[in-house]
């Protein structure tokens, strides 16, 4: 599978990133628990989640963060590089919901040899509420002159 490379010249401030839609299931949370090593019970054991004052099992913050990361690595492609990103988990997400990961370009500049863009990203739950916020800094290849 080869991917289309985005070049720095291809995008402008305000350009939207392609939406990434996720439909987490409890099964996926268990898969993430196993692969990440985060075995905290609130992500797969309903009784434990409720005992912790939560509505039920909730999606791991770091999994939502990994989706934010996926948006950025998709933007960077094979020849770009994700330099930095941040995530802030503002609301809880639950399995069974549809979560849309969205974003846009907020800055575009050159520092030394690096062609950089900055992004703003967020996750929306099925009700359209923003449950997660993110920012990113990505280096993109520049088109040969």
């Amino acid at each position: 599978m080869s991917k289309q490379q985005t070049y720095w010249e291809d995008i402008e401030i305000g350009t939207s990133l392609p939406d990434l839609v996720k439909k987490p299931t409890t099964r996926q949370l268990v898969q993430w628990a196993g692969s990440s090593g985060d075995l905290y019970e609130i992500h797969y054991d309903k009784d434990q989640a409720i005992a912790n004052k939560l509505p039920g099992v909730i999606v791991h913050g770091a999994l939502k963060g990994a989706w934010i990361g996926q948006m950025l690595t998709d933007l960077a492609g094979d020849h770009g590089w994700v330099k930095k990103y941040t995530t802030s988990y503002r609301g809880m997400d639950v399995p069974g919901d549809t979560i849309s990961c969205k974003g846009k370009i907020t800055k575009k500049y050159i520092t030394g040899e690096e062609h950089l863009v900055e992004t703003e990203m967020w996750l929306e739950n099925g009700k359209g509420e923003k449950t997660t916020l993110g920012t990113g800094v990505v280096r993109l290849p520049s088109k040969p002159k």
């Binding site: 019970e41 094979d78 990103y85």
Partner: protein, 154 residues
């Protein structure tokens, strides 16, 4: 198996700036593939070693937040000498800085530092926020990345 220990605000505060003992682990292909499968990311950089080699890499690439997902040594504040407060935690946020590519076969050394601790009232009562930094170095001693985690204890 729950390994969460319980700490007091004061006990955690005392550990700000103290680096944990270093711990070294090897980056392996299968964990990278499973990690990518768990988030539903089909990027060939995480699955197809030949594809990576054509790009000049030696093996599969670790995704940006992959390093912070390993089983770690305990944070300094989790040392057993500190007493306990609460066992309930949430993830408030993460931050990742990636300086150099990390590939399967690399041996990465991690150290952990508590960088900030504060408290405030929130939806779930008095909440303690603990910022933990994870610092990753390769075999040459180069810093390859940093992960930060904001733990909310309530």
């Amino acid at each position: 198996m729950t390994t969460y220990k319980f700490y007091t605000f004061e006990s955690v505060k005392k550990t700000i700036g103290i680096e944990s003992e270093p711990s070294t682990f090897e980056i392996e292909k299968e964990p990278i593939r499973r990690w990518a499968d768990a988030i539903g990311d089909h990027n060939p950089l995480y699955h197809d070693e030949e594809y990576c080699k054509k790009l000049g890499y030696r093996s599969l690439i670790a995704p940006p937040s992959f390093l912070t997902n390993y089983d770690y040594p305990l944070s300094p504040f989790q040392a057993p000498k500190y007493p306990v407060l609460t066992g309930r935690t949430l993830n408030g946020g993460n931050e990742y800085e990636c300086y150099l590519p990390v590939q399967a076969g690399d041996k990465i050394t991690i150290t952990i530092v508590t960088s900030d601790v504060y408290q405030r009232e929130g939806r779930l009562g008095l909440m303690t926020f603990i910022m933990t930094d994870y610092i990753f170095r390769n075999e040459k001693g180069e810093k390859v990345g940093i992960g930060r985690h904001l733990g909310i204890h309530y």
